[in-house]
Subunit: 121 residues, 2 copies
């Protein structure tokens, strides 16, 4: 028996709706869900790369004793993402909520790096 792969645990057909749906409707649903699953894997790897970049920023800030947050930078980022969202036909309010969600996680990381770097507890 070979080593089980991590992805083996995932059932792409898992659904609470299986017994309420005609087979051809379920087939259509599963086809779209396959695309969503591919996009989600891409999002996870892209977010991991983004946190690698913000971690570099965190260490730079800690080394030079700079504050974790940068309000002018965040304002510029939010304005840009709202405009990009409009071009992409994504709700700009959602794009802003999304960036705030990410930034609050990033600031939490920066604070942790700073505490660790400056021997805080």
């Amino acid at each position: 028996m070979t080593e089980p792969h991590l992805a083996d645990d995932f059932d792409p057909t898992a659904s609470s709706l299986s017994d309420q749906v005609a087979p051809e409707v379920m087939a259509e649903l599963l086809a779209v869900r396959g695309s969503i699953d591919n996009i989600d894997a891409t999002l996870v790897y892209l977010l991991a790369e983004r946190f690698k970049a913000t971690q570099r920023v965190g260490y730079l800030k800690a080394r030079h004793k700079l504050p974790p947050a940068d309000p002018d930078r965040e304002t510029a980022q939010i304005g840009r993402l709202r405009r990009l969202a409009e071009e992409a036909h994504l709700d700009p309010a959602f794009a802003e909520k999304f960036l705030n969600f990410i930034i609050s996680e990033v600031i939490r990381h920066h604070q942790a790096i700073s505490d660790e770097h400056n021997g805080g507890n």
Copy 2:
């Protein structure tokens, strides 16, 4: 004078830290931020594509009078994303929070499509 482009409004050097930072440190910070900005544009376009896919699911569910949420599907998605996050060295707890954040927006969209489709008010 040419028409101003949307991206013209964005200042990639915007920072509240400018007067606290040596020029060479600011240069390093801006280099990493350039990568973060590229990743963020990719995230916006990818999220837009994801919502196009979930919108197709929303119409399918509305047409066949299926509920907006699918708990077994969500459990399978969360488990998979946590495993993918581990492979990508992203905090699995953050990946789960992220997916919940997206799913709650999707369910809100599905509910709106359902209300509209079934003449709800």
